[in-house]
């Protein structure tokens, strides 16, 4: 089973916890307490793995370890602990709050600056589309194509969802899982190629010289 670390970031009350709750429990609370600090939980998804020829689908289980962080400014100093070592980040904004997209942009920027890992998957999510249905369009403050263009420019995945009615939630996590799985497969492949190529050159298995194990001699001062 593959394990991936995923972190949710975004302004307060954009619905990060609700998205997680919809994903993990498939339920929704209208009145949710704001998160203090962060909550840690895990959930698995199964994705279909197709080989290069597109046939022989095989099921792969992916386990997400999710950090649901508090959006409040005052917990900002804790954030690096959560996104460090993360494989994926879900940056959430509220489509009825223009400010929250700005906040999301700054999160994306911070991730790009602080996380060296190029393979970090960033997914931009616009939540609460249930509030802006066709009859009630004026509640929407962030147009879909604005966010979409921004996402494309910065190489982010993007979709709009509703944690309340569940629209698009599972798909978000599925596509993250698929993307991470692809990346992992490619990494494995390159590793294999490296090993194979080195084997072809006739060097045999790589000798790794580890540091000499320390003796149990209690007299040695720097064991």
């Amino acid at each position: 089973m593959l394990q991936f670390k995923l972190v949710l970031l975004g302004d307060s009350s954009v619905g990060k916890s609700s998205i997680v709750n919809r994903f993990v429990k498939d339920s929704f609370d209208e009145f949710r307490e704001s998160t203090i600090g962060a909550a840690f939980l895990s959930q698995t998804v199964t994705i279909k793995d197709s080989d290069a020829n597109g046939n022989e689908a095989q099921e792969v289980t992916v386990k997400f370890e999710i950090w649901d962080t508090a959006g409040q400014e005052r917990y900002k100093s804790l954030a690096p602990m959560y996104y460090r070592n993360a494989n994926a980040a879900l940056v959430v904004y509220d489509i009825t709050q223009a400010d929250s997209l700005e906040k999301a942009r700054s999160w994306v920027q911070e991730l790009k600056n602080k996380v060296d890992d190029d393979s970090l998957v960033i997914y931009l999510v616009g939540n609460k589309i249930d509030l802006a249905t066709d009859d009630d369009k004026d509640k929407r403050e962030v147009e879909e194509n604005v966010a979409k263009t921004y996402a494309e420019e910065n190489g982010l995945l993007f979709s709009e969802v509703s944690a309340k009615n569940g629209q698009g939630i599972q798909q978000v996590f599925r596509s993250i899982a698929e993307k991470l799985y692809d990346i992992r497969k490619k990494q494995d492949a390159t590793n294999n190629i490296n090993i194979n190529s080195s084997a072809q050159r006739g060097n045999g298995p790589v000798d790794i010289h580890l540091q000499r194990p320390s003796t149990n001699d209690s007299t040695s001062c720097c064991s």
């Binding site: 307060s12 709750n21 993990v24 429990k25 609370d29 009145f31 949710r32 307490e33 704001s34 203090i36 600090g37 962060a38 909550a39 840690f40 939980l41 649901d68 409040q72 400014e73 005052r74 917990y75 804790l78 602990m81």
Partner: protein
């Protein structure tokens, strides 16, 4: 009332009558309280007599819980029995030197049973006459036993088939608050928190537009005293309306408490300290100073979260409407388990800490707790702490309030990582708490949930995974060794009747060394929330009076060792009864047929350097010797079971 002279220590105390006579529709009565530390006993038997002015209050209260016969329609004569403590029938009668009222159980049963036969209609009587209905008899014993405390499983582990019902038949002699009124001024108690610039942060009751003017006034009053007196104002008291305003100035924060409940300034000040401590637990003092240093007119509400306001509200309601001994006694309650069981749990934790030092290097874990959580109250199951260190109870209470709230509508299977400042530990920095719900079970015969929570505290921001690994291993180990069973179910709840302490209704016993206390379980039939609140409020007020009778203005006990009896009794008799009989529809049949019990309550407070005992007797009890003997029995019982009732050492490292 000639009994007065019998057990009055001093010459008859002055008594005030409230100016307004209660109207007929109200079932009002006048209560006089008397309390004076009568003997202050030092342990070396030197008697120190301390004279303090007697506490005199006259209260006017509603009398509804008094005639609570509703649960026992067949047993109307039971009213008098309610004031007699008796033991469970199965208990051997070892106490020979008891009062006459306290004779063995069975004659009482017979007596009341025959009485109840008389008031039943003939058809049932015939049925019962044919053969003595054993079932009915058992039922009756059950009911009787219920009316006074009795518990299915006592501390000794024996179980009886009694339904867990607790009598709350002590009269309410206090003013009942009208909490339902929409007008916030009608509340008998309120808390305000504002910034030094006069911006509102929080108030227990009242909309923004209602409270803003008050914030201005509070700010002005506080500033006036600072400028003109160069000292902080503590309190304003209006004797006529019994209103008290207490102020705490913790610039840049100002707090004010308002009370019409006759609370002392000191009580209100400690309550304000808890509220301030809560603020500091979520924004530490350094952050707070910095926020206001840059902008003195900063609106702190933008910085706080909905959760913070909910927590503040929760703390306010605990302070004003719940029996909250954790705070009042400044001690914690402990989950009762056998000495060997607790030792095994602590050993397991200790061994794991030593063996797994790879996962959890020394210094990572600062403090650890396993808690049992029920009805928003926490009990300690196990403590992991460094030798010679422990956290302040206030700090732990703040942690508890955070946990309660965070898990209220969260799923048990997530783990939390909370930054929290412990103001009494270090008010300028944060510690980090790993919190995990271990298990959840239904409490005995009720819908109440009992949860077990693991809390691991570290000073390191990024210690989550280390603590998580340790926590998982610990829980697996406890489950593997079947030790988790010891604390997922509260098997050893006890009631007052489990202790051979006649005439005692309720007590709280604190051992100062452990900063822990015990009290009998409070439970109400069918988990009736309003009844429970009423009952807790009653107890809270009795205990409050009791405590205030032996403390000076600064809130400290007047002597190292104190023994004091406190009385609440009715001033007049007869008159009210007549008045009520003339009354209108409000009077029920029960009230007409049976005269309400006379209010004659006694409490005892006993403080020594080792322990504190607070004790409330049943109504009508007036024999000090018996009460003192009961108090000694309670202390003896608590000492006997000390290792079960208290965590003595914990897993120290």
């Amino acid at each position: 009332m000639n009994v007065k002279d019998q057990y009055l220590d001093t010459a008859s105390t002055r008594s005030f009558r409230s100016g307004v006579r209660p109207s007929k529709s109200q079932s009002g009565f006048n209560i006089k309280t008397r309390g004076q530390p009568s003997l202050s006993i030092n342990l070396d038997n030197t008697i120190v007599q301390t004279i303090i002015p007697p506490v005199n209050n006259t209260l006017n209260g509603d009398n509804e819980d008094n005639v609570s016969l509703n649960n026992f329609p067949r047993l109307r004569s039971m009213q008098s029995i309610s004031s007699i403590v008796s033991r469970r029938p199965t208990r051997p009668n070892t106490v020979a030197d008891q009062l006459s009222v306290n004779t063995s159980f069975d004659p009482l049963i017979e007596q009341s049973f025959s009485y109840s036969n008389n008031i039943e209609d003939p058809s049932t009587r015939q049925a019962q006459d044919t053969a003595f209905n054993e079932e009915a008899r058992k039922d009756l014993i059950d009911r009787l036993a219920q009316s006074i405390y009795s518990y299915p499983a006592s501390l000794t582990g024996n179980s009886y088939g009694f339904k867990p019902v607790v009598s709350n038949e002590i009269p309410d002699v206090f003013i009942n608050d009208n909490q339902t009124s929409p007008d916030f001024k009608s509340h008998s108690k309120n808390f305000f928190i504002l910034t030094s610039a006069g911006k509102p942060i929080f108030s227990m009751f009242g909309e923004d537009k209602q409270i803003v003017p008050y914030m201005g006034i509070i700010n002005t009053v506080v500033s006036y005293f600072q400028i003109n007196e160069t000292t902080n104002i503590r309190t304003i008291k209006l004797n006529k309306t019994r209103q008290t305003f207490a102020f705490t100035n913790k610039a840049p924060i100002i707090l004010m408490a308002y009370s019409r409940r006759g609370e002392t300034t000191n009580e209100l000040m400690t309550q304000l300290d808890l509220l301030y401590s809560y603020l500091i637990s979520s924004i530490n003092e350094r952050q707070l100073k910095r926020l206001f240093h840059n902008r003195s007119n900063f609106d702190l509400r933008n910085y706080l979260e909905v959760t913070d306001f909910d927590n503040l509200r929760q703390i306010c309601s605990l302070l004003s409407n719940k029996l909250y001994p954790d705070f009042g006694l400044n001690a914690l309650q402990c989950f009762v388990m056998r000495k060997t069981e607790r030792a095994r749990i602590h050993d397991t934790i200790h061994n794991l800490l030593i063996n797994e030092s790879k996962d959890i290097p020394r210094g990572t874990l600062l403090y650890g707790l396993i808690l049992s959580h029920k009805r928003k109250m926490f009990k300690l199951c196990a403590v992991i702490r460094p030798k010679g260190h422990s956290l302040h109870t206030i700090d732990l209470q703040l942690l508890f309030s955070l946990i309660t709230h965070q898990f209220e509508n969260r799923d048990g299977d997530q783990e939390l990582w909370l930054p929290i400042c412990f103001p009494k530990f270090n008010s300028n920095g944060f510690l980090y708490s790993y919190i995990k719900y271990l298990s959840r079970s239904h409490a005995n015969n009720s819908s109440q949930m009992e949860d077990t929570v693991l809390v691991l505290i570290s000073a390191q921001k990024d210690a989550f995974y280390k603590l998580k690994t340790f926590g998982d291993k610990l829980w697996n180990k406890l489950q593997h060794d079947k030790l988790d069973e010891y604390f997922v179910k509260d098997r050893f709840k006890f009631r007052i009747s489990d202790i051979q302490a006649p005439l005692v209704h309720h007590f709280m016993y604190k051992i100062k060394k452990y900063v822990q206390y015990v009290m009998p379980e409070i439970e109400i039939h069918n988990d009736d929330a309003t009844k429970l609140t009423q009952y807790e409020c009653k107890l809270k007020k009795y205990y409050g009076h009791l405590y205030n009778s032996v403390v000076d203005d600064t809130g400290l006990p007047i002597n190292k060792t104190i023994l004091n009896y406190f009385h609440w009794e009715e001033e007049e008799e007869g008159e009210e009864g007549e008045e009520r009989e003339e009354g209108e529809d409000a009077i029920t049949e029960t009230q007409r047929d049976f005269k309400r019990e006379k209010i004659n309550m006694m409490g005892l407070i006993w403080i020594t350097p080792q322990f504190e005992l607070y004790l409330i007797c049943n109504n009508g009890v007036n024999n000090k010797e018996v009460v003192l003997r009961s108090a000694k029995r309670i202390i003896g019982w608590c000492k006997k079971y000390e290792s079960r009732l208290f965590i003595q050492e914990g897993a120290t490292f």
